[in-house]
């Protein structure tokens, strides 16, 4: 047996089932892109341990084995490609009431456009299932809210939350390049200052530090506000790069360059607090 020497992700890999809830998943698997996405999501959810995919065609003809599986399940999840809801109708005719019904097109995914699956679309449906978006509305009213479903840290796209994400190479704030470290300290200071003010008006503020691999140096020293880059929020700001000796040390690449920004005729290798604060307010539509 070969010893594993580098980390691997469980994307698509088998994992242990999560929690004690036994879920059975029926996908319409229709002859459209949305239908195929429904099936892809059911497969992915099964691999992730959320539940077990089952045969919708078997449910349509009420085979004894499918009846047993439904009886043994705590929850029934139906994934339909479109609002016609074939899988839901099949379940209802079999006397099965779904606990959750997810409609792929309700998540902003087009029904047609070929049969090739887009991983991001499948992931969106998988996330919706995990988040319980297919539960009845009255049930969801009492459920925690949040999350945009895009897999980012954007704080749900709402203006009642601000997520400030600082990206850098190096292990942490003490072990990154000098300019990134200064930017990181400035981001933390600004977050601390604006948090007190914004939380008084019901806006939660979170700071997220994203440690990048060394080969992502082009992304290092960047800041995002609810998923939007600083330079997109401050009009007239341009991104550039300049030689960085400490990045050269960290990456082992001679002549390594690190991100900097230009604004109002000035070049900033570490981002000044006032520009960070301005971008934060703009992200919330407050400036």
């Amino acid at each position: 047996m070969t010893e594993q020497t580098i980390p691997r992700c469980t994307c698509g890999g088998g994992v242990e089932p999560e929690g004690d809830t036994k879920r059975i998943i029926f996908a319409c698997a229709g002859a459209s892109k949305a239908g195929q996405i429904s099936n892809g999501a059911a497969v992915q959810l099964t691999k992730e341990g959320y539940g077990n995919i089952a045969c919708t065609a078997s449910l349509a003809v009420s085979t004894p084995s499918i009846k047993k599986k439904v009886e043994a399940a705590d929850e029934v999840i139906v994934i339909d490609g479109c609002p016609v809801g074939c899988a839901r109708q099949i379940a209802e005719r079999a006397g099965v009431a779904p606990d959750q019904e997810i409609v792929v097109t309700d998540l902003g995914i087009e029904k047609g456009g070929g049969l090739d699956l887009c991983e991001e679309d499948v992931e969106r449906v998988v996330s919706a299932a995990w988040e319980g978006k297919g539960r009845a509305e009255e049930e969801n009213e009492h459920r925690p809210s949040g999350g945009c479903g895009c897999g980012c840290a954007c704080g749900g796209g709402s203006t009642d939350a601000l997520v400030v994400e600082w990206r850098h190479i190096g292990r942490d704030i003490e072990n990154t390049c000098e300019r990134c470290g200064e930017t990181g300290k400035a981001v933390r200071d600004v977050v601390d200052q604006i948090r007190a003010v914004l939380e008084d008006v019901g806006i939660t503020v979170r700071f997220v530090e994203n440690v990048l691999p060394s080969d992502a140096i082009a992304e290092s020293n960047s800041i995002l506000f609810n998923g939007v880059r600083l330079e997109s929020l401050v009009e007239g700001m341009e991104v550039t790069s300049t030689p960085c000796t400490s990045c050269a040390c960290i990456t082992g690449q001679d002549g390594a360059e690190c991100r900097a920004v230009e604004y109002n005729g000035e070049r900033y290798e570490s981002i000044p607090p006032d520009l960070i604060a301005r971008a934060a307010l703009r992200a919330l539509g407050l400036e």
């Binding site: 996330s127 840290a153 994203n210």
Partner: protein, 80 residues
């Protein structure tokens, strides 16, 4: 302050982990610092061989799958 570290290579699955952590921290209103770690070197250094992984105050809590928001809340509250 609680240090919440999410180890992942930046794929959609790892993205869902960080999003769920964000939601859990926000809804619990706890003082937490969330750190996303995409560096393979940092993962190896910490002994993380399967991602996504969730560490709280340096302790591994979840490895290899994405916990739901409620599970993360229980972890952050020390109930799991």
């Amino acid at each position: 302050m609680v240090l919440v570290e999410v180890f992942g290579t930046g794929c959609a699955k790892c993205g869902r982990m960080i999003k769920n952590v964000e939601i859990a921290v926000r809804e619990l209103k706890i003082d937490a610092e969330i750190r996303k770690i995409e560096s393979l070197d940092a993962m190896i250094e910490r002994g993380v061989m399967l991602t996504p992984a969730l560490y709280v105050d340096g302790e591994p809590k979840v490895v290899g799958h994405v916990p739901c928001v409620e599970d993360i809340k229980q972890i952050l509250l020390g109930e799991k």
